[in-house]
């Protein structure tokens, strides 16, 4: 008799019922399997109606984030052996609306990324395309490199109680990404982003619970990024009063 493990999977099928429920599946237990492998087994062998997102299964695409026993995890990196023989509870990321089963609505996050302009806005355009490169020294790269590791998996939003209570909060990843570009020597849009991230819905909502950084699979430390931005915003604000011309 080969070993098995039970998955308790959150189901929400709005076409059938408004109420969510849990469904148990028994799948083969293999030491090298992750939760995503077990979900794929369910989808292929047991129940084709189960919906969830995944793509690369190697911790790069950031699409398979779910709550595994209450903790936000990339399911491609959550090994069954860390839970065996106890059952594994799989739920959609908290703090997000659920569309179906394990699929959450990420419109809000996409919208926020757009608002804080998480892309490079050069200080000055090079005169002609292809006429050169925007040069950067290694020590300039080091300033923002950590924040550039973000894969937009949204685990940090699921871990953030402030986002859970106040969905208007810009949130950890978007602010960390704003800092990623703010700290880039080639970028010139710091002030544009400040209008959003230094607003009442930006960094000031954060109370440094710190769980966003704990669950981050890429060690981005969005909580650190937010506090650093608070220090920077506070310095700028007080300096603006003391010597208004300095800005």
């Amino acid at each position: 008799m080969s070993k098995t493990i039970t998955l308790e999977v959150f189901r929400y099928q709005p076409d059938q019922s408004d109420e969510p429920r849990f469904q148990s599946y028994t799948v083969p237990y293999r030491e090298d399997w992750v939760v995503l492998d077990a979900l794929n087994y369910i989808k292929d062998q047991l129940d084709g109606t189960l919906s969830y997102r995944w793509s690369c299964r190697m911790g790069v695409c950031g699409s398979c984030g779910m709550m595994v026993n209450g903790t936000p995890k990339l399911t491609c990196a959550a090994f069954l052996k860390d839970y065996y023989p106890k059952p594994v509870k799989v739920e959609p990321l908290t703090n997000f609306p659920v569309l179906r089963d394990l699929v959450v609505n990420i419109d809000d996050f996409m919208h926020k990324m757009k608002e804080v302009k998480t892309w490079l806005i050069p200080k000055k355009e090079l005169p002609m395309a292809g006429s050169g490169e925007y040069l950067q020294k290694p020590e300039e790269l080091a300033q923002y490199k950590q924040f550039s590791m973000c894969i937009n998996c949204m685990l940090c939003y699921a871990a953030c109680p402030v986002y859970g209570m106040e969905p208007e909060f810009i949130g950890p990843a978007a602010i960390a990404l704003a800092q990623r570009y703010n700290l880039d020597s080639r970028d010139g849009a710091k002030d544009e982003r400040a209008e959003v991230i230094f607003s009442g819905e930006g960094i000031w909502e954060c109370t440094f619970v710190g769980e966003c950084s704990v669950v981050c699979p890429k060690k981005v430390d969005p909580a650190g990024a937010i506090q650093q931005a608070k220090v920077q915003a506070t310095k700028e604000w007080w300096l603006g009063w003391i010597m208004p011309k300095a800005k």
Binding site: P14, H111, E139, P161, G210
Partner: protein, 134 residues
């Protein structure tokens, strides 16, 4: 702000006792409540300041003697526990906020935290020495 959903979706509201659901959340709540105990001690400091500024020597002596009571020591002990918890959690978090680069290398987090602990030790020593022997 937040875009309107185009399809039916399930909203799962947060429980008001969310901070009891994970030890990390509970520790956060305790950390933020330390400020209440520190503020309470500051009320005592205000009384000390008031007595020192306004009382004659005899009544300040009586007030000073009351610091040794069991009641005073109990309150001080409670305040001390929370104040120390604040200091430790605060110094542990400093490297996340104060980031120093030496060229391409980040100064290690432990160095920044240790520097703060060192400063804490020096400041504490100065306060205690002045209070006891000056």
């Amino acid at each position: 702000m937040t875009p309107e959903p185009k399809t039916k979706q399930l909203i799962r509201p947060m429980s008001p006792t969310w901070w009891l659901e994970k030890p990390a959340y509970t520790n956060f709540m305790i950390r933020d409540f330390t400020s209440v105990f520190i503020a309470a001690y500051c009320i005592f400091l205000m009384v000390v300041l008031c007595k020192a500024m306004h009382s004659d020597a005899a009544s300040f002596q009586a007030f000073y003697a009351s610091w040794g009571s069991g009641f005073s020591k109990t309150l001080h002990l409670i305040a001390l526990i929370f104040a120390a918890y604040h200091s430790i959690t605060f110094f542990n978090l400093t490297p996340r906020v104060i980031v120093v680069f030496k060229g391409e290398e980040k100064v290690p987090e432990s160095t920044i935290a240790l520097a703060h602990y060192g400063l804490w030790a020096v400041v504490s020593l100065v306060i205690i020495v002045i209070g006891l022997w000056v």
